[in-house]
Symmetry: C2
Subunit: 352 residues, 2 copies
Amino acid sequence: MNRRIVILTEGYSNPRTAKTAANLIRYRPQEVVAVLDATQAGKRSGELLQVGDVPVIASLDDAPDSDTLLIGIAPPGGRIPDPWRRIILDAIGRGKQIVSGLHEFLSDDPEFAEAAELHGVRLHDVRKNHLRSIAKCEGLDESTLRVLTVGHDCSVGKMLTALELTHGCQQRSIDAKFLATGQTGIMIDGDGIPIDCVVADFVNGAIESLVLRHQRHDVLLIEGQGSLAHPAYSAVTAGLLHGAAPQAMIFVYEAGRTATTSVEHRPIPPIRDIVNCFETMARLRHPSRMIGFAVNTRLLDSEAAREECRRIEQEFGLPACDVVRDGPGRLVDAIESALTDQRRLHPRARAH
Amino acid sequence: MNRRIVILTEGYSNPRTAKTAANLIRYRPQEVVAVLDATQAGKRSGELLQVGDVPVIASLDDAPDSDTLLIGIAPPGGRIPDPWRRIILDAIGRGKQIVSGLHEFLSDDPEFAEAAELHGVRLHDVRKNHLRSIAKCEGLDESTLRVLTVGHDCSVGKMLTALELTHGCQQRSIDAKFLATGQTGIMIDGDGIPIDCVVADFVNGAIESLVLRHQRHDVLLIEGQGSLAHPAYSAVTAGLLHGAAPQAMIFVYEAGRTATTSVEHRPIPPIRDIVNCFETMARLRHPSRMIGFAVNTRLLDSEAAREECRRIEQEFGLPACDVVRDGPGRLVDAIESALTDQRRLHPRARAH
């Protein structure tokens, strides 16, 4: 059952702030009918968000067939921009479902909740959860390869990489499953855990339970969050790393990025230090190794991009590619090889 | 204003499970009038909880002057044991304030909330919070020495060590302040952040804001939580480490403990690996080093305790002591020395 989604990005239609919007257009093109931003009406999504070719509209009047309004930005702190309240109330008044990944829940807002009840509309707060399980370190099937995408910063392509690797595996008939751990991934996949909104004591347990639910697949591509090197979000990243207990990690970074997202005065530490920290930290829970690099080369021309991939391959002795520019082939090779190694040590015992 | 507290430990009066009770008796002896556990009535706290000499009573009838019932256990998952509901409702009916550090909030329970309103009683859920600040990495005063207690497991003495070191510093007229990060620490100190109950995205920011509020002191002794080596709680520990950005850490461990708390089938990794991981992880946020070991030697006789401290001192070239058995002197020396080093690099600029 396809939704007909209008994505709200009013006043924030750039690829970085509106990354939820951009990723929905990329991975759910059949469901997105328009982007709503009166300040940019008449343009197309390709121009503003560098993805797809969806019309940008000024009002819901311009998308009469839509049935869903989806909040398309994930601002730091997760609060609803004030000018959006009128737009959301208008959508509720028109009977459209509302999907939001913000930390500030629409369903906890008395005005939205009352309007939604009046108009029989569902407010779907993707991040809202009451997860309360403690990690038990029991029941992991070592014949399943758990691959976590990690990185040097936020908003660098960890979700995109996990999705592209999942598709790349599936094209080779490997039974791979993407596991979403953030609001956008959940909106795309329809399942997952909004890990950054879980109460701290239960972060590791929430991810462990997600992994346990999906072990029938041969390969799990687990969406990473934040970075151990990000001074604001490392709690999320550490819990995800230990809860997922990956045997293998793919390191995602943007070539040329030097400042830490949302704490711009802080330079990002050297990649070698971050890789070392991920492997050191992972080992306390489960032996794990980096098996390749997904290089986000959007700041580079194609020659410089190739050179950067060569450079990082040589430095670490691991395969590297830009999964968008080059396709994920080299990293899918690395996953296949890691799966073979894993199955040698832990043969698949039984049908799940 | 002193409270007159009865601590509820019904059916769980052992030092490990009732560690909140034991620590309140240790650090707030003037406020605790009794322990409530009908299954152990007539005994004294020293016998059951290895601390103080408070009577164990069978009913609130036996403590008519009390004004507060405090939940004295912190079970994994934080749920209220079923048989306790009747006792808590009885206390509310008698007009006593209720203090709870559980994850399951009393004030969210319709039966408790209704009874509290009827009797004009306050339900104080110590862990309840709406903390929503993102770590900014701004405003830290490097002339303040931030010392974080870390460890190899949960329930090993990180809070006790931070409190004893605070008192030890104060006895030498060093302006030191204990910063509570858990429910028991907050109950003892009256201030702090229930870090394990903060939504994951805001863990680092919550601790950063706590530190910023208290920088007028010369030394901050920050209560550690969990361990980077604990597979269930490492999210909490990592966020605390980066939010606090300590220049110095004290490593707390229990000699002889080999199994991880609440995941007993998992051996605790070697101390050297855990120390290395703390220093590696800390460095991504702020240079930090271990400056000493607080050895919990309760499983050892006094000769074996001395030998264990000698052994760890030799292995790491750092001072070690049992802060209960030996007093915290050797570690206070290490803190004084770290403060001197810190002030050499960052002189105290102005009166706060």
